[in-house]
Subunit: 129 residues, 2 copies
Amino acid sequence: MKAKGTNSERELIHLLWKEGFASIRCAGSGSSRYPTPDILAGNGKTIVSIEAKSRAKLPVYLTKEEIDDLIKFSEQFGSIPLVAVRIKREQWKLFRIYMLNETDKGYSVTKENYGSGFSISELFRLKFK
Amino acid sequence: MKAKGTNSERELIHLLWKEGFASIRCAGSGSSRYPTPDILAGNGKTIVSIEAKSRAKLPVYLTKEEIDDLIKFSEQFGSIPLVAVRIKREQWKLFRIYMLNETDKGYSVTKENYGSGFSISELFRLKFK
């Protein structure tokens, strides 16, 4: 499960470099004592911190803690927090936090909001707020 | 050797958080197919990419490739490239690239330029160029 997550993160990093974003995987994401995203990427103008989820199918769930940590890190670092979702046989989709559904226990990407996600090739258009 | 490097990087990350910099260790530094620094840190204003060296004593050597990769990554990401040096029983010292000595095979921190390094608590003063 962990190796699978790592592999999908490596694929995402490769795609980000192809779009002009210098990108790294963060060590110890999910185990560090500090809030730590999965990926950081920047193109000299836009810097994004990404929580990545690769799943067989929708819906994709994110805990409140995952998103709170992502926001906390991003505010202090100076980056835009994003959730990246990859459903089997589809392309990566990117979501701003406000694009996620709020659930009782956290957040989700479902059939309802999946279509609002944007592609990696649109990432360079991103502006704060 | 690798675990020792990882531990000293964890210590540096802890010190950076204490100074208000959200910080992460980069996975796969030294093995990734892409240029990858050891550490990324940001405080909402200044973002730095760090190559970290923990050594028993001076001089500390850096290969041309290490520094070229650090500069390449930083220019694309949008961060300030720094070298962090920790000599046994001393505090971390930070160096801009131009503060390093150039050698035949790369760069070095020696008794001559070690004193020009600045401390982590001075990092927030950093401006580009």
